[in-house]
Symmetry: C2
């Protein structure tokens, strides 16, 4: 029988879980300090809630769940969609929007949400890409001011640092800035979505590739593309201190609020957070409405965290807009970057096949009373070889209970390598 | 738009999650001391692995997942099962068996597994019964001796006590004892499964109900039923000290190993663990092969934990039998019993609409540096009413930042009730 996990999913062994738990505990402690409270939503959502929510490509990747109580044979011409009523969530933002709509009367205003949990996407499996993976999101709901952005960036940077990810850079832009650039370049409004999608690929395909896509696929005129590239290039690598002035100069149509929000972000972030304005930053989702941000780390190809403001998403569930801003840590990516197991102390109680089990149990109990992790293991094979195996398995010391022992032998450390 | 979670599932609000996290942390700490290591398996398993595994009723409750890449319209006479390739796990034991088969070369021998995670069953929703719920299991794989049983019972009792569930009683029986009773009563081997299922209902339907079911549905003769009832009644409420002798007297066909295992369990459990032999204990699953156990608590109708030895289950995946024994805490049930929130300290930084945001951020940062949980909240409405809301939301103190403040006001405690 095939014992491998379902395609694209994986088993997590104890050493992997230990790293993940360690990282999560560090992140959780930071988010607690920043006032975030953990919530949980179910893995399954009604299928119509998952569809058509600006989830972009992710909606095509939904695992769909069969209705219960169907006949064992499907009638002719049944649309597949008639057989489905639930789906596995593909992110934590759509469920959060529903959750907030359903529960906001019992929640603080603003509400600082922390979510950690699995999501599912039926993507083509690839190295480091799984069909079930965990997301790690903080969101501030009901806070219209840029205070939310600054607090999210600060908390996420602190959480990454606590997890051991140092030397990160925060890249910030604003969807309203991108709209102003598009307008300023003379691109028609209906082309903006395509324009942003093309621009999002800049770091992968360069300006030549972006220009080609803007011409061929988005259908922009050469002079529009020139102006676009010129405007963006003119505000790349700006000094934070001059940012507002230079943006205002380059884009007369940019709203004062955008500039003031960027200034507050610049001023409000603590000294330890290294950040830059990145006019090429787009982010994939259609639902962003204000500042957008990513955190990059030299050791990681892509970003290690990303987020932004999405003031219109909850309104689609609730009928009333709710200011919302979130930041998601790429949990799977950062545990891959770290992959260093936390220290573990573990004692093996080695006993012979004729050591009375009650003696084994008592010795284990005594050692556990000191808070130590203790496992009885029966003696087998050559002593040295068994000690080697214990070391491999992560035990750090052992006691040996002979059959006639009245007292356990002295506790001895296990070496780092098999003897 | 309907904002309620999918039928039979639920959202977990921060106060609920806080209780659950607190209980889980206590349990995890105890299980760490007992040498258990946490693993994770994917929520989705190939559907054929979930079917036909002695999962009893649970197999009928599987959420089935549609294959990807199907045509939008189903062809005539398609069997429903052709459309499905994955299912959501309905317990953690079947995935553990697969996991162990796939990974045992990298695992300690014996392997002490700890699992905590969601499972899904499409049951009729009822009060306190959910379609997604968490299981909390420890298992010892590769330990044939009754040391496993004693250690599992001891660890689970300690975990429940640490979580705040005191005054529990462990009920122990053995599937081999039940088989000996059935044989001794003269019930034909092929009737045993039905016999056990009927006996399992004793606490719900009483002896009259069980007798009727044994006669009508299992088809046992009156004298067989009499002998069965008599044997079981004769060994109810036995004193632990006399248990082995009295069982041997009542059941001459009972194997010595069963008696010796029960004696070691009796002797090996620490003084703090209150336990009794319960000859009416059956447990629902078909896969048990040795001792079975449950833990009851006066405040809970059913059991708060259950488990047993299942030496044949892993063999069905692996082709080779592996000794296995497990104990599962009814996590959802015990958090309902407890439902006491852990202490939480949380500071609100109240600021006016014209307090500079940089000042707000700095004050929050200073308070957080001491490890405290801090959330900026904008002043709104009447001051007293807002303090009342802050208290309701779980804040324990606040500082007030006036617009012209150069220093934050003094920190003040919030009362337990709105002022």
């Amino acid at each position: 029988m095939d014992l491998t996990p379902a395609r694209g999913t994986r088993d997590l062994l104890p050493s992997t879980v230990a790293v993940r738990d360690h990282v999560l505990a560090r992140i959780t402690e930071v988010y607690r300090r920043y006032g975030y409270q953990r919530i949980e939503t179910p893995a399954l959502e009604n299928i119509e809630r998952l569809r058509g929510r600006d989830g972009g490509e992710n909606q095509k990747l939904i695992y769909e769940v069969l209705r219960r109580g169907l006949e064992p044979t499907v009638a002719a011409d049944t649309p597949l969609s008639d057989l489905v009523d639930l789906g596995l969530r593909f992110d934590l933002t759509v469920p959060l929007s529903r959750f907030y709509g359903a529960n906001r009367a019992s929640l603080p205003q603003p509400f600082r949400s922390f979510q950690f949990g699995p999501v599912w996407r039926a993507e083509r499996p690839a190295r480091g890409r799984y069909r079930q993976f965990n997301q790690c999101d903080i969101d501030i709901l009901g806070e219209p001011s840029v205070l939310a952005e600054v607090e999210l960036i600060e908390a996420t940077s602190a959480a990454l640092a606590a997890a051991g990810i140092e030397g990160t850079t925060v890249r910030v832009s604003d969807r309203r800035f991108l709209s102003a650039v598009a307008e300023h370049s003379g691109a028609p409004t209906e082309s903006w979505d395509g324009l942003f999608i093309a621009l999002d690929k800049l770091d992968k395909i360069g300006w030549d590739g972006v220009r080609k896509e803007l011409a061929d696929r988005v259908g922009l005129a050469a002079q529009v593309i020139d102006r676009l590239a010129e405007t963006i290039t003119s505000v790349q690598g700006l000094d934070a201190a001059k940012l507002a002035d230079q943006l205002a100069g380059a884009l007369p149509n940019l709203g004062d609020e955008v500039l003031s929000d960027l200034s507050i972000t610049a001023e409000g972030l603590p000294d330890g957070v290294s950040w830059e304005f990145d006019p090429t930053l787009v982010r994939g989702m259609g639902y962003y409405t204000g500042q957008i941000f990513e955190i990059t780390h030299p050791a990681s190809g892509g970003s290690v965290a990303g987020g932004g403001r999405y003031d219109k998403l909850i309104g689609r569930f609730l009928g009333t807009d709710v200011a919302a801003c979130g930041f998601s840590i790429g949990f799977e990516r950062i545990v891959d970057l770290l992959a260093v197991a936390p220290e573990r102390e573990a004692v093996a109680v080695l006993y012979e096949s004729d050591t009375p089990l009650t003696t084994v149990l008592e010795v284990a109990r005594t050692l556990r009373a000191d808070g130590r992790s203790v496992s009885p293991v029966r003696r087998s094979g050559k002593f040295g070889a068994q000690l080697g195996r214990l070391t491999e398995w992560g035990f750090t010391s052992f006691v040996h209970l002979r059959a006639d022992a009245t007292e356990p032998g002295e506790e001895r450390r296990l070496g780092d390598k098999a003897p």
